[in-house]
């Protein structure tokens, strides 16, 4: 596990943001929708990257917190009529509390048992929203309000503005998580990941660190969920399916696990490929599967590893 700190990541971050900005300028209506979806997926993937890449906790129920954030926004914003900004904050807090409850049980377990318990918790949340009547059950519920930024002259109802908003939140999340990953907290998570027994022997409260990571990841996933609910003004149990958890996990693995920028790039690749391939063929999932198998075979460390490798080789060639 190489520490993610290196000056070049700032360059890569600016390049990625510039690419997103360029796409924003060049794209039409549907492109803005894709851009917003990419930003939301990137936030969700970055939150899972904290668990998988840093703490070594492979969760297969991460979509639950994404969905809980979305439903909580629908509950506070649409059902109770709170102002969207307040409802969003409350939704993120709800996601954190849900993650705390699940995490209290889950972080005691390791390996495949952790995977199973997160999967089970995710399925429980999904089943609950399937049956519930308050939010429309299987059919879901429409009418989720968008953040009101008219005070600073932004109409979030406009797809172009909303894409920018989602992009802005993604950048903010990146900056925060980047700080967190480089902090002593992040270093401790990596230490636990590398050798949990040694970390414990050194007096580190391993369980509490894992729980904290789980709660932060849950809260950020809920934040992504609130944006997803705003994007389509709509929530449904589809937001909590384990297949979505699986998709995000694939994005994280393809991105390189620990690299926030890597998983963000993988999110863009995922959304872009899905769109391009599904316009070409109804069997796009087959093609997508093949592409990702090849990617993992060729670049075992994901996009992040591949870029690093390329960078090293370029540096060597230029070097004396």
């Amino acid at each position: 596990m190489t520490p993610p700190a290196s000056g070049t990541r700032h360059v890569v971050a600016v390049l990625l943001a510039a690419a997103a900005g360029g796409y924003w300028l060049a794209s039409g209506y549907y492109g803005k929708e894709l851009l917003a979806e990419t930003a939301i997926t990137a936030i969700l993937a970055m939150s899972l990257s904290l668990l998988v890449g840093q703490a070594g906790l492979v969760s297969l129920g991460h979509a639950a917190f994404f969905g809980i954030g979305a439903y909580a926004l629908a509950g506070f914003g649409a059902r109770l009529g709170w102002p969207p900004a307040l409802a969003m904050a409350a939704a993120v807090a709800t996601g954190a509390v849900a993650a705390l409850l699940v995490g209290l049980v889950a972080v005691r377990l390791a390996g495949v048992f952790f995977i199973m318990i997160t999967l089970a918790a995710g399925e429980m949340a999904h089943a609950w929203f399937l049956k519930d009547r308050l939010f429309g059950g299987v059919g879901g519920m429409a009418g989720v309000p968008r953040l009101d930024l008219s005070a600073i002259g932004i109409d979030t109802g406009d797809p172009a503005s909303f894409a920018l908003l989602a992009l802005g939140v993604a950048i903010l999340v990146y900056l925060l998580l980047d700080r967190l990953v480089l902090s002593p907290f992040g270093q401790t998570l990596r230490a636990i990941h590398q050798n949990e027994e040694r970390a414990r022997a050194l007096g580190c409260p391993v369980g509490r660190y894992k729980l904290a990571a789980f709660v932060v990841a849950g809260a950020v996933a809920a934040l992504a969920g609130t944006l997803a609910a705003q994007r389509s003004a709509f929530v449904s149990p589809e937001l909590l399916t384990w297949t979505l958890s699986g998709e995000v996990l694939i994005v994280v693995i393809v991105g390189g696990g620990a690299s926030l920028l890597g998983v963000s790039a993988a999110a863009a690749l995922w959304i872009g490929l899905r769109h391009q391939l599904s316009t070409l063929t109804d069997h796009w999932m087959l093609a997508m599967g093949a592409i990702f198998v090849v990617l993992v075979l060729v670049a075992g460390d994901g996009i992040d590893g591949a870029v690093r490798g390329l960078w090293r080789r370029l540096a060597q060639r230029r070097g004396p």
Partner: protein, 395 residues
């Protein structure tokens, strides 16, 4: 002078040509269906293929304009369905939308169609509320409402001597709507519900426990609602457990849909269903539809296909009525209200009070016809129309 005239004529001609080309711009119908993923891929294709069959008959033309179908895949995700609908309306400039199949996708499309005032025709989703309390002037349904399918079945069954009935459906909205819609008139007609069983929605590998409880309640018949693989499982287990010697299996007709018959085999014989369509309907439109569908796809067209075919027929008739004009969307909807068509299901129209279709409902039974299971129509309930159910479109 002469050249000037010629030039003027040329300018005039090209202007006319441009005007003509404008009038020739195709009518675009956007299809928002789950083509690539999820349990409804077969239904999406059946709808699209059958719409194409109907439009082929017209040469893809109406009032001098070409008709173009623009497909978009929802990948069985509500947010993708909504984004694709927006793309169709704002980028491809379609004149109307047709879709979706699943109810979550419908919730996601409904508000968009309502707010952007683009006609949305639902070719298969039964939630009562969509043409009831939640109805919109822009959302029309050419398929059915859950209530419409089962409302008259309770009376019919009580009249045929099935006095004690067990209800069996998945525990979710559509399951409860269909069971509730059956129950009320059935009880009013003197029937008794001896037990109601609602297995959890989703994957189910064994109906054993539920069929056991139903056997203990000793009903004359089961009234059920299942579609797809669970329907096949129920039909097979009902036979395996020997329940066919004790009671009748009945239900909303999707239970023994032409899409399920190949996997159900002979176990499917002897089931009574109620639905807005069954391949055995005896009318010229249905005969020609089934002939052409079977010749092209080598299988029997299902109720989903029939709904797609009728939807395209209705759209074509409305476009013809509107003289091929699509700019005034309100007038287009008005034309859809005004037209009466003969569909595969018999006479069809859209009720302006609810925007739900008014159609005939068929009670049918499956039986062995030679070596395969086929359908026999037992009864036809004409002109079944929903009450407004809280919809205020009729004023």
């Amino acid at each position: 002078m002469k050249t000037l005239h010629l030039a003027a004529a040329a300018v005039l001609a090209s202007a006319l040509a441009a005007g003509g080309a404008l009038a020739q711009a195709p009518v675009k119908i956007g299809l928002v269906l789950p083509y690539s993923a999820g349990p409804f891929v077969a239904i999406a294709n059946e709808i699209t293929d059958s719409m194409a069959l109907a439009l082929e008959e017209t040469g893809y033309m109406v009032a001098g304009r070409k008709i173009e179908l623009v497909r978009e895949d929802t990948t069985h995700k509500p947010d993708v369905a909504q984004a694709k609908a927006k793309k169709l309306v704002f980028e491809d400039k379609v004149d109307m939308l047709v879709g979706p199949v699943a109810s979550a996708e419908l919730t996601a499309l409904f508000d968009f169609a309502h707010q952007s005032k683009v006609p949305l025709l639902i070719p298969n989703a039964g939630d009562n509320e969509v043409t009831g309390e939640k109805c919109s002037p822009w959302v029309l349904r050419t398929s059915f409402s859950n209530d419409q399918i089962v409302r008259d079945m309770g009376t019919w069954m009580a009249g045929k001597g099935y006095k004690k009935v067990a209800l069996l459906a998945f525990d979710y909205k559509a399951g409860h709507q269909l069971m509730g819609g059956f129950k009320k008139p059935f009880v009013a007609a003197g029937g008794t519900i001896v037990t109601e069983q609602y297995p959890p929605f989703g994957r189910l590998s064994d109906f054993g426990p539920w069929l056991g409880r139903i056997r203990d309640a000793k009903p004359d018949a089961i009234f059920s609602f299942f579609a797809g693989p669970p329907a096949t499982l129920l039909v097979q287990q009902f036979k395996e457990f020997g329940l066919d010697r004790e009671m009748k299996l009945t239900g909303a007709g999707w239970l023994v849909s032409p899409l399920n018959l190949p996997s159900q085999g002979q176990a499917a014989a002897g089931v009574i269903g109620v639905l807005n369509y069954v391949p055995a309907i005896d009318n010229p439109v249905n005969k020609s539809y089934q002939e052409r569908f079977q010749a092209k796809f080598k299988r029997v067209g299902s109720e989903f296909g029939a709904q797609g075919y009728d939807t395209a027929k209705l759209i074509h008739a409305a476009l013809a009525q509107a003289g091929g004009k699509t700019d005034d969307k309100a007038a287009l909807v008005k034309a859809m209200h005004a037209v009466r068509i003969e569909g595969t299901r018999g006479p069809l129209r859209i009720d302006p009070r609810t925007n739900n279709v008014v159609q005939d409902i068929y009670v049918f039974e499956t039986e062995m016809q030679g070596s395969a299971v086929g359908y026999k129509v037992l009864d036809r309930i004409r002109d079944v129309q929903d009450p407004p159910n809280g919809c205020t479109l009729g004023g």
